[in-house]
């Protein structure tokens, strides 16, 4: 395991921010950390980076105990925590020089050029950071995090403030880091679809505890999908669906779309049945209701906590 967190706890006064948390992150995977605001995600990541001292528990990174081998551990981590803050009165280049040198980056100048190219900031590196947009700072943050070629990259809400194009680029970059460079990435996000798209495994944290943890595909397989079908004969389509026990809904005012709840395995069966019955199908959409899943999981955890009390 790249990261092994055992029985990690942290309290702020009477508030238990992280409560006996166990997490494992395997090599070369993108690990998603999900949870509502105040769930303990950021506190966990900060403890992982030794910004906050845990009350109890242990953290091992690359097999090294963070409490005793802090320097060696941090040498192998690149991160953006919360938001990419830099020295505003310095240029992007000078910021990278400072943080690159502090990360003991070999061939710093060359690495800076490569990273600027990678994040698309080439040509703007000599401008003061105070003139950068949030998206540019986020890119600079990524360049800084990757500068010393770390094995583990921690990104806390990295898509915040990025435009759609930036989000797509970031997503591709994370996948490139994992697939082509063999990096391990821990990603916290409140955008559930983000996690689904790029994470291999995930943990949902609520009230400082991991309420569910596992492979994303496996966790979400049993979740129902919202299936939408576009047809020119809605009444007939609904009637056919009823023969295979599906209650669809919809009408012409929806642009000829009907919708129904089904599982992932039901999708080909539904399409096949409608086709065989002679219903014209012009479009099919199947989206997973991650929000429902997320709310159900966190609500269940809260209920169990209430029951315990």
């Amino acid at each position: 395991m790249i990261v092994e967190i055992k029985q990690l706890s942290k309290s702020f006064g009477n508030l238990k921010a992280v409560d006996c948390l166990d997490l494992q992150v395997a090599p070369r995977e993108v690990f998603g950390l999900l949870g509502p605001n105040g769930a303990g995600k950021s506190t966990t990541l900060r403890m992982l980076l030794s910004l906050i001292r845990p009350d109890e528990g242990s953290i091992k990174v690359f097999g090294l105990d963070l409490s005793t081998e802090r320097r060696k551990v941090l040498q192998q981590i690149g991160c953006i925590i919360e938001k990419p803050d830099f020295y505003l009165y310095m240029s992007g280049l000078d910021n990278l020089r400072v943080f690159g040198a502090l990360s003991h980056t070999p061939q710093l100048r060359q690495r800076i050029d490569e990273m600027l190219e990678l994040v698309g900031l080439k040509g703007r590196e000599k401008d003061l950071v105070k003139t950068y947009s949030h998206g540019m700072k986020q890119r600079l943050g990524l360049a800084q995090a990757l500068l010393h070629d770390p094995g583990l990259i921690i990104l806390d809400e990295p898509t915040t403030g990025l435009d759609p194009q930036g989000i797509i680029e970031l997503r591709n970059l994370i996948l490139h880091l994992k697939n082509d460079l063999g990096k391990t990435v821990i990603l916290s996000s409140h955008i559930l679809s983000e996690i689904e798209m790029i994470a291999d495994r995930m943990a949902i944290i609520n009230n400082g505890k991991a309420v569910v943890q596992g492979r994303v595909r496996e966790l979400l397989t049993e979740e129902s999908l919202n299936m939408r079908i576009q047809t020119d004969d809605i009444p007939r389509a609904l009637a056919v669906l009823r023969t295979i026990s599906f209650q669809g809904a919809g009408g012409d005012r929806d642009g000829g779309w009907i919708s129904l709840e089904c599982t992932r395995e039901d999708v080909p069966k539904v399409v096949h049945t409608l086709s065989v019955a002679g219903v014209n199908i012009f479009g099919v959409q199947a989206t997973r209701s991650l929000e429902d899943f997320f709310l159900r999981i966190t609500a269940a955890s809260e209920n169990s906590v209430r029951n315990i009390h």
Partner: protein, 279 residues
């Protein structure tokens, strides 16, 4: 450690605020020197008027050494405020800007980071004093020429021979460096306590002003407190221009200043090493 020190120095060099001290010293010193060049004799006559009733004062009284001494007396009071402006921001400024998160995730101990900040601040203080010395003594000697230094105190007149002044100025600058290092350590300590950039600077300035006021007021109650205030010992540089030299007093005050640095830094290290970074 050298990388950290280099980074800290780069931050100080690039930050526009760092030049306020140099600009202020330049303006004040040049202004005083210009005023003394323009109307220094009248100023001297005013100061020496009671003395001239008893003594026949001859020679180049208004010389570079006296000008440097006057400037030193004027500026030593203001310089701690200029130092607090930089040192008070070293940790809290990073916290306010959010860069503390990034800095503390680099492979250095917190102790190393704080040492680097203190050393960088000390280099800044050294350069500030060097600049003051160059302007006050260098330009002073160039414009007003050399001569014996006349130090007028409330109850005595000390004349230091021209050839005996240079080492005294170096000693005075050395003590000034020690004094300003106390201010630097104090501001750095305050800077560790908060995430607000301005708070430690204002607090450090307020404490220095308060201590200086207590030090100048002749109130019996304050006389009990004065030996424990670092500002009391910061003015010991004046004693190096006395004859004979009161070495025990200079040594004692220097030791107390060093003790203050040790205490302030110890508190800063203790707190900073245990501080959780939330912002």
């Amino acid at each position: 450690m050298l990388k950290l020190l280099h980074a800290e120095l780069l931050k100080i060099v690039v930050k526009p605020r760092s030049y306020i001290g140099f600009a202020a010293i330049t303006v004040i010193v040049l202004l005083i020197e210009f005023a003394l060049w323009l109307d220094g004799q009248s100023y001297l006559q005013f100061i020496l008027q009671t003395l001239e009733q008893s003594f026949d004062v001859q020679g180049n009284i208004l010389n570079g050494n006296l000008v440097a001494f006057i400037i030193l007396q004027t500026l030593i009071v203001q310089m701690p405020l200029l130092v607090a402006l930089i040192s008070g921001d070293l940790v809290s400024g990073e916290a306010a800007m959010g860069t503390i998160r990034l800095l503390l995730t680099k492979p250095f101990t917190r102790g190393e980071i704080l040492w680097a900040k203190f050393f960088a601040a000390s280099i800044y203080v050294f350069l500030l004093i060097l600049w003051l010395g160059l302007l006050a003594l260098g330009i002073g000697l160039l414009v007003f020429g050399p001569g014996d230094l006349t130090v007028l105190k409330s109850d005595e007149l000390i004349i230091v021979r021209a050839g005996d002044t240079l080492w005294r100025f170096f000693a005075a600058f050395g003590i000034a460096f020690l004094s300003l290092s106390v201010v630097s350590a104090f501001s750095l300590m305050l800077s560790c306590f908060t995430d607000n950039s301005i708070g430690p600077i204002i607090t450090a300035m307020a404490v220095i002003i308060l201590f200086t006021i207590i030090g100048t007021l002749e109130v019996p109650l304050f006389d009990l407190i004065k030996p424990f205030l670092f500002t009391t010992h910061m003015i010991v540089w004046r004693n190096v221009f006395e004859h004979p030299l009161d070495w025990p007093l200079i040594r004692n005050s220097s030791a107390i200043l060093l003790l203050h640095i040790a205490v302030f830094l110890s508190v800063a290290f203790y707190y900073f090493k245990r501080k959780d970074i939330y912002n």
